[in-house]
Amino acid sequence: MFVLEARELTKHFGGLKALEAVSFKVKEGAIHSIIGPNGAGKTTLFNCLTGVTRPTRGSIHFSGQEISRLQPHEVAELGIARTFQNIRLFPEMTVMENVMVAQHTRTKYGLLSAVLRGSSFMSKERAVREKGFEYLELMGLEDHAEALAGNLPYGSQRRLEIARALATEPKIILLDEPTAGMNPMETLEVMDLIRKVKGLGKTVILIEHDMKLVMGISEWILVLDHGVGIAEGSPEEVRNDPLVIEAYLGRETTH
C-alpha cells in the first residue's frame, strides 16, 4: 500500500533546477532512503513534501489527498513529520517542553480552559506530559527531561529532534541526515533508533550520506542527481546501477 506519492515534482529557484520531474511512491511501514551527491536536491525534496517550499510543478498525494499547496503546519497535522539537517530545536525550552509542543495539533483546548484549568484541561495536559515522556524514553532522553534542549550534547539533540517529530504522531517521518557529524558508534545507535521508529508502524524516509547505513537499513532507495531521479529500487538494484556509479564516481573514460 502506498501512503505518499509524488508526481512529476519540479522545483526551480530562478534558473536553478533543484528538482526536475521527480516521481516516486512510498510504501507504508517501510524504510526509504534518498541519496545523491551534495546539491542533488534531497533537502529541497523534503521541503516540498513538508510544505516549507511550494513546488513549481507537480503534485504530492498523501493518503489520497493533494498536499503540495498546504502550509507546513497543515502537513504536520495530516501526519508528516520531519527533522532538520541543521538541528532546529527550541533551545531555551526544556527537553520535555520540546516534545510537548510537538503534540500541539493532537490536543485541542482553547485559551479559556487554559485559564480556568478544569479537570478536562488537567487530564489533557497530564496525557501530553506522559506521552512526551514515552517518546523521550524511546530515544533514551528520559534522564534529561528537565534540561534545556540547547544544553544537550550534539548526539542527544539529534535524538531529541527525532523524539519531537514522533511526538506529532505522524504516519510518515522524514529524517534529514540524522547521523550527520556522528561517530561510527553513534551512527549504529541511530540505526537502531530508526528501526525502533519503524517498529512503531511509522513509514520512514531518510536522507543519508552514510552508505553503510543506507544499504543496511533501507528497503527502497531513490537516487537524485542534479534534481533528477536517476535510479530507484532495492539497495541491490541501486548499487549496481551504472548511472548511480557514474553520479558518485564519475564516468569511465575509454582510450
Binding site: F90, M93, E97, A114, P153, S156
Partner: protein, 401 residues
C-alpha cells in the same frame, strides 16, 4: 628590527595558559576603558572636563579591581555562605509560590494604611505599568515579536474609556472590558498586515502605528479635543458611591495585576504559551510540528494588547484626564525597557522592571537633571553585565554526552 624578532621569540615561548590569561586581562581593560569613557562623556556637559576625567580615572581603575575582587572571593562564593542569602537572591524571586505568599499578599493589602499618599500614588502608577509590561512581555518576550508602538494600545484603552464616559456617560465597570476589547481589536487590526514582516521591519511598522495613532489623537479635534485632551472623566462608582480615592485605585490595580499574573502564567504553561515560545525559538521548527505560526502570532498580539487596554482604562479613570502627550514613542520605549530590564520572557521580570523603572525616577527626583541619564546608564550597564535581564534567562544544567 632586532627587538621585534626578540619579542616574537619571547611571545612564542609563553605558555598557552599565560596567553589566555593575558587576553582575558586585555578584554577586562578594554571593557573598563569603554565604560569609563562612556560615563565620563555623559558627565562632561554637566560637570566640566575635570570631574569627567576624575570619573574616567575612577571607573577605569576601579572596575578591574572590583572584578578581580569578585573573582577572588566572588559573591557566588562567600555571599552564598551567609545565612539566608539564598532566600534573598533575585533568582528565587518567584517566592510567590512558597509559604511566603500569604505574608507577602497580606503586606500588600495593609500597605495603604501605612503609606503616605505620595508613595501610594507611585505604587498605583507602577501597578498600571506592570499591566503594560506584562502585556508587552507576551508579544516581545514569549513570541519574540518586537513591538515599538505599545503605547498606542495603552492610548486606545484610555481614550475608549474617556470617550465612552464623557460622550455616552458609560460607567467605569462596563467600559473596562470595552476598553480591553477595543485595544485587542486594534492589536489584531495592526497585526494582520504587520505580521507579514519580521524582526526589525515589524518593529518599524509598530513604531509607525504608534506615531500615527498619537498624531490622529492630536488632530482629530472634534472627537478627541486634540492636544487639550479630554478632562472630566468620572472615577468608578459602586452603588452610587464614588470610588475615586487613592486607596481604592491601589486595591483595584493590585487585584488586576494579581489576576493578570495568574492568567498569563496559566496561558504560558499551556499549549498556547508553548506555541508562542516555540515560535520565538525557531519559527520553521514550530510550523513543522504543527503550530499555525501566523495564527499564534495574532493570538499573542491580541492577548498582549488586551492588558494594555485594561491599563489604559485604569489610567484614564485615575487621572480623570487623557491627552496625546501621555502616549508618545518614549512611553513605548519606557514599557519595552521594563520588559528588557526585568528579563525578556519572564513574568516576574516584567513586574520587577515596571516597579524599578517607575520608582527609580521618583527616587531620583532630587537630581531631576540626571534621571534619564542614570536610567540610560543603568540600562547600558545591564546590557553589558546581564544581557538577559535581572530575572531573565533560564539556567539549565549542561549535560555531558
Amino acid at each position: 628590527m632586532k627587538g621585534v624578532v626578540q619579542d616574537q621569540a619571547r611571545s612564542s615561548r609563553k605558555s598557552i595558559a599565560q596567553r589566555a590569561r593575558e587576553s582575558a586581562g586585555r578584554s577586562v581593560m578594554l571593557r573598563s576603558f569603554f565604560i569609563a569613557a562612556w560615563a565620563a562623556l555623559l558627565f562632561l556637559p554637566f560637570h566640566g572636563i575635570r570631574s569627567a576625567l576624575v570619573l574616567f580615572a575612577g571607573i577605569f581603575a576601579g572596575l578591574p579591581v572590583m572584578q578581580s575582587a569578585m573573582r577572588l572571593g566572588g559573591p557566588g562564593e562567600w555571599m552564598q555562605r551567609l545565612p539566608g542569602f539564598r532566600a534573598f537572591t533575585l533568582r528565587s524571586f518567584p517566592f510567590l509560590r512558597t509559604s511566603a505568599l500569604p505574608v507577602f499578599l497580606l503586606a500588600l493589602f495593609v500597605l495603604p494604611f501605612t503609606l503616605k499618599d505620595y508613595y501610594l500614588d507611585v505604587l498605583v502608577m507602577s501597578g498600571i505599568y506592570m499591566l503594560l509590561a506584562l502585556g508587552l512581555n507576551v508579544i516581545v518576550g514569549f513570541t519574540g515579536l518586537l513591538n515599538l508602538g505599545f503605547a498606542a494600545f495603552y492610548a486606545i484603552g484610555a481614550y475608549t474609556y474617556a470617550l465612552l464616559n464623557t460622550k455616552f456617560g458609560l460607567g467605569f465597570w462596563p467600559s473596562l472590558p470595552l476598553s480591553a476589547v477595543a485595544a485587542t481589536l486594534s492589536g489584531l487590526l495592526l497585526a494582520v498586515p504587520a505580521l507579514r514582516l519580521r524582526g526589525d521591519y515589524l518593529a518599524i511598522v509598530t513604531l509607525g502605528f504608534g506615531e500615527i495613532l498619537r498624531i490622529v489623537l492630536n488632530n482629530w479635534d472634534s472627537l478627541t479635543n486634540g492636544p487639550n485632551g479630554i478632562s472630566g472623566i468620572a472615577p468608578p462608582f459602586l452603588f452610587g458611591i464614588s470610588l475615586g480615592s487613592l486607596n481604592f485605585y491601589y486595591y483595584l490595580v493590585l487585584g488586576l495585576v494579581l489576576l493578570s499574573v495568574l492568567i498569563i502564567r496559566r496561558v504560558k504553561s499551556s499549549r498556547v504559551g508553548r506555541a508562542w515560545i516555540a515560535i520565538r525559538e525557531n519559527e520553521i521548527a514550530a510550523s513543522s510540528v504543527g503550530v499555525n505560526v501566523t495564527r499564534y502570532k495574532l493570538y499573542a498580539f491580541a492577548f498582549g494588547t488586551f492588558w494594555a487596554g485594561i491599563a489604559g482604562a485604569l489610567f484614564a479613570a485615575k487621572m480623570r484626564f487623557v491627552s496625546p502627550e501621555s502616549f508618545t514613542f518614549m512611553e513605548s520605549v519606557f514599557i519595552l525597557s521594563m520588559v528588557i530590564l526585568g528579563g525578556i520572557g519572564n513574568i516576574y521580570g516584567a513586574l520587577a522592571g515596571a516597579f524599578i523603572l517607575v520608582l527609580l525616577p521618583e527616587a531620583l527626583r532630587d537630581v531631576q537633571m540626571y534621571r534619564m541619564l542614570l536610567l540610560g546608564a543603568g540600562l547600558v550597564l545591564l546590557m553589558i553585565f546581564r544581557p538577559q535581564g535581572i530575572l531573565g534567562g533560564r539556567k539549565g544544567v549542561r549535560i555531558r554526552g
